[in-house]
């Protein structure tokens, strides 16, 4: 079954991911790719606390993710891969050509960002990076929860 969802969400592990997507997809593992979190035991404990014990949480830097990706892809369980920002998504896609899609699930307001959707705020630079990903064949859509419509990239960048 392998990785069923590749998600960009600045809240990383939270309810929408664990329950909203995790339940209907029957997720058994979550891979959190983030250079900062992967180097902090304390942050890892914090994120693990939000996940029921039957779901495994794997923390990886972008470098580690590039090395371990094939093991996740061939895992017989269903998993979700999470990144917290567009730069990490771009870096991962550059290192791992098998990453063919991204779900923009939550990128929130910050100085310099403009509202694109209720749950997506992007700087012009971030929007350009997403369009560039799409131009290279990665399917980029925005969707916060499974019951919502997957908004095509042309409608929010």
């Amino acid at each position: 079954m392998s990785l069923a969802l590749y998600r960009i969400d600045d809240r990383l592990i939270h309810g929408q991911v664990v329950v909203g997507w995790g339940q209907p997809l029957h997720v058994s593992f979550i891979v959190l790719v983030d250079d900062e979190v992967s180097s902090s035991d304390w942050e890892q404990d914090l994120y693990r606390m939000g996940v029921p014990p039957q779901i495994e949480v794997i923390f990886a830097s972008v470098d580690q993710a590039a090395q371990l990706f094939s093991t996740w892809q061939t895992d017989e369980r269903v998993g979700i891969l999470l990144v917290g920002d567009i730069d990490t998504a771009v870096a991962l896609a550059a290192r791992v050509p098998q990453v063919r899609r991204f779900n923009v699930g939550g990128v929130h307001h910050r100085t310099g960002r403009k509202e694109r959707l209720r749950f997506v705020y992007l700087t012009d630079d971030e929007a350009a990076k997403l369009r560039d990903l799409a131009a290279r064949g990665v399917d980029v859509t925005a969707q916060d929860v499974p019951t919502a419509r997957a908004v095509p990239i042309g409608e929010f960048t």
Partner: protein
């Protein structure tokens, strides 16, 4: 010591509703504030927390033991003294809390957890 405050941190409008319910039941209006994570990334939720908490000692009452409300609250507590975090907020623990704020945040948090847990039970089952 009665300046110990409770900050309720939840999804959607749960926090504001709990603040209103405690006010309606007790008449105490100044003990609690509500913070919602609606539309917030990590940075903005941290800012909402900072504004709601101010300088004083506080207990943060969070809805779930995981998720953005929880991670932001624990992160805040790690960076500031005199902040305790309680998860699984319910009305019973808040009603007890507002009348027992002459405690340290840690003690008030333990007490609130006791009161909240006692309110959770099965009744009326045959």
């Amino acid at each position: 010591m009665s300046d110990l405050r409770g900050i309720i941190v939840t999804h959607a409008a749960v926090a504001q509703a709990l603040v209103a319910a405690v006010g309606a039941i007790t008449g105490v209006q100044d003990a609690l504030s509500g913070v919602s994570n609606e539309g917030c990334g990590t940075d903005e939720l941290a800012e909402r927390l900072r504004q709601a908490i101010g300088d004083g000692p506080a207990v943060l009452f969070v809805d779930l033991p995981g998720g953005s409300c929880f991670t932001s609250s624990v992160r805040y507590a790690k960076q500031h003294a005199e902040i305790a975090v309680v998860t699984g907020v319910n009305l019973a623990m808040l009603l007890d809390f507002v009348f027992h704020r002459d405690n340290s945040p840690a003690e008030a948090a333990r007490r609130a957890v006791d009161a909240g847990a006692k309110a959770i039970r099965v009744t009326g089952a045959a």
